[in-house]
Amino acid sequence: MTLPTLACIWGELTNPYLFSMYRKTEFRERVEKICNDNWQTYLGTSEEYFWFNADDVIKAAQHKSDGLMVSYVKNLQKYLKCVDVEQSKQYEWNYPSKEEIATQQRDLQAIRTYALGNTKTKLRSQHALLYMRCNMMLGRHQENINYWEQTASQFIETVYKDMMQNIYAGALYKTGQDEKAGELFAEMGDYQSLMTQFYRKRSFQAIRQHYQKNPNSKVLPFLLQDFVNNCQEVIDANGGDWFDGKLFVRRINEQEATQMRQFCETVVREGKTETPIMWKSAKAWLEYLYGHQKQAATDILEASKLDGTDRMKDCARVLMLFITAKQAPDSEAFDDYLADELSWLKEMEQKEEDGYFYRAKTRISHQALMKHYQNNTDKLIAMMDVTNNYHYGEYIDTMRVGQLEKYFAYTNTPAKSNLDKYLKANLKKDEKAMTDLIGTKYLRLCQWDKAIKWLEYVPASFYNEAGYRMYVLLRKVSVEPWITRQWIKDADVDRAETYNWTVSENPKLLFAKEMQMMEGTMNVLSGKALCQRCYNLATYYAQANFTGDCWWLMRNGKSVSDTLRVNEVDLRAKTKELLQKASQTTDLALKEKALFALSYGELYNENQRWFTREWNNETYEYDRKTSSNSQQYRAFAALANFEKQNTTHTSQYVSRCDEYIQFRKQFH
């Protein structure tokens, strides 16, 4: 079946749906695999066959003196070239010429005639498929319907017959026989075609009508799954969980979902369905999604006793785990149950390749287990690690250092309970990263001695693998950011790459040691030297801050929306405090630098800046409104007053500063 463009871009799911009624093994992939296996057998090779190569098969057929196969494959090859012409219109650089399109049409006619003439040979299924393929390309759908119904449907069961049936279903669809087509697509597991066909028919009403016509229609699992997953999308959006999933989401309102819940109950009661577990599980999950947790627990328990396919039973088990984890009190019994279910999920994850169990685990982790173990930090972190929780990285990055140290110790002690055993056996341990993180957390707290104790165990090579490696190589913490910004130039990056620069010493350890030394020896300094030390330290703090150029000392990444976080010292406040001290110096050059540094914009939040910006609807410009009580204003005022008194000594970095020039325009 030729699918519209939309269906062709049906991507991988990112929303982990819990309601899954069938294995997502696409028809196309399945038949392709069988065809390739058939070619492998014909060629007599032990290597797995991935890609049909006509020339190889022709050679093998000639070797076997199999003339019929030679002519079939030659025609198949010609047919595939006709398909290529169609493909090249969309995706290839060589867009077909008029002549090529005319040749394609002529070839299709000729292959069609050849194939029909060979449908009584020993390769009749293959030739019949070729005949139907040509008809499909030529738009002769009615002929395909007739041929299948009168002839091909009687053929023996082969993959070629499956493919012919798929073409037949497509022809039915294209000639308006939707219902029949849908049943066939569902039977074959051709979900892309089903989505194309039912895209606009996915409401409760449509599902009910479909059920009423045939309570065991094979399309129903597809439609019901789609409906329930759409409800999940709606609820996710309400709850702020941004798991965007399907490409073809249909927004379902609560009234429609309620109708569906009631209808599911009716279907189970009527007893006409062969898969009551599907309807009852759907009801349970919808009850849960719409806030009826107790009813959901009752329904899923009942569902698990009903009939259905293996997949439906597995899905009910997954739903049971989710619903139970959300409601069960913290207990050893629950821990044991969870350990068993996590092991089962892992086993199923390896057994089933469609990703359902992996996605289910992700969702259970985020929405049920995190809350369940919120008061048991060690288990919580381990759980996040083994269930690939998206928040794991951020969680350990922002938690208190003491807790992380405790967790680190937990991971290295023998397990006591079943759940501990499961968790510890499945942790994705990275001791270097953990040690770096604990050391970094101490840097954030300015506890240099403790930072050094941890960072000493992290080799320099660790930082060569870090995403921020280039910044480590190209930036220095001793550069005054208010005078020189260390923008990275393309040429520098090129140079670093060309000469394969590497980080040769642990940069965080070096920083911690320098800070320890500079702060540790402050008490022996006084006067100008002390002020100079304060200024130097301020430079280091400003660089290590999240707005500094050496942000990588404290963070793994940088964003415009970064702010001061919990469990870290306000380095900007420290910078300003030290600059204030430095500005008390009698050394005029240092005093000027310190005052200038104090007016540096990156040391202030938006509401502490010396002006605010207000939009002017008349001029289409922002008007600057001076905030004379702001911290930065006071800093600029101090600098301006200093410069007024020392007019002959104004340094260029001050006199050429745009921001300062702007400030002076309104400061008298």
Binding site: K89, Y91, W93, N94, Y95, I101, V234, Y620, Y622
Partner: protein, 280 residues
């Protein structure tokens, strides 16, 4: 070269400018116009249609650029209208050099014209959201396209690109839309808001490339937290922006393009609004 450029003195620099004309972008996957769209072309004296021919994206292996979503030609444009094949290239295609890409694109456009009986094509346009990371490769690529095509070449210019040196093309189309942060939709219309355009206005006059101006008439529908959000730019906002940009660079009124030709977009605004947008 068919593009009519005339010499005008603007500001303190000598810059070629474009002669007056009205145009639209056509951004669908099948060139098929209904009666409303056809009469729109006539009513607003549209003399150029910038028609998206195909996209160029990086292939599944993440290495080579390849065409995608190629247009089909179910019908043709009236003879009086010039068709300008437009190719959208994703920015990541320009993260590295792809020798021969320019020739491939030009050859494909030519073949599409020939196969589909599209005649008298004198100009092509390349659309790419290039950044400082991709600019160098993109400009070199444009030089190669120019060389391979041999006739008029234009490119789109996004507002943030005004701060870079101009690309080596005959003229640019200034895309005056998608100006806001889609995440801050409650504060600003992400399609167009004068406050987001304002910071770029000062660069307009000194930008040394001849420019046409493209304004948004489309709607962007998305669902945010279970609420259907329709972003549509109010007519008065489009006109306010048009006034502001033309105040900074008067010849931006010479060639006006709307993005994009579609029945719903035509019906979205009153005819008076379109008349004002297309007012020179």
């Amino acid at each position: 070269m068919s593009l009519l450029l005339c010499l005008l003195m603007t500001g303190c620099s000598e810059r070629q400018e474009l002669t007056e004309g009205n145009a639209v972008y056509f951004w669908r996957t099948d060139l098929k116009l209904d009666s409303i769209e056809q009469s729109f072309l006539q009513r607003y004296h549209i003399n150029k249609v910038y028609c998206r021919y195909f996209d160029v994206v990086i292939d599944e292996e993440g290495t080579d650029p390849k065409p995608n979503a190629t247009i089909a030609f179910s019908s043709t444009l009236p003879d009086s209208i010039e068709l300008i094949p437009t190719v959208y290239i994703t920015e990541n295609c320009m993260h590295q050099k792809h020798p021969g890409l320019a020739e491939k694109i030009v050859k494909r456009i030519r073949q599409m014209n020939e196969t589909n009986d599209i005649k008298h094509v004198n100009e092509i346009q390349i659309d790419c959201d290039y950044t400082s990371k991709s600019r160098k490769n993109y400009y070199q690529f444009l030089e190669e396209v120019k060389e391979a095509w041999g006739q008029t070449l234009s490119t789109t210019i996004r507002l943030h690109q005004l701060s870079m040196e101009p690309p080596p093309v005959d003229y640019g189309v200034l895309m005056i839309y998608n100006t806001g942060d889609p995440r801050k939709w409650e504060e600003r219309n992400p399609i167009l808001d004068i406050r987001d355009v304002q910071p770029y206005l000062k660069q307009l006059d000194s930008y040394s490339l001849p420019l046409a101006a493209a304004y948004p008439v489309y709607q962007w529908v998305r669902t945010i937290r279970n609420i259907r959000i329709e972003h549509t730019v109010e007519a008065k906002e489009i006109l306010r922006v048009k006034e502001a940009v033309e105040k900074k660079r008067s010849n931006l009124k010479n060639v006006i393009i709307t993005y994009h030709l579609d029945k719903d977009n035509i019906n979205r605004y009153k005819p008076e609004t379109y008349e004002e947008i297309y007012h020179h």
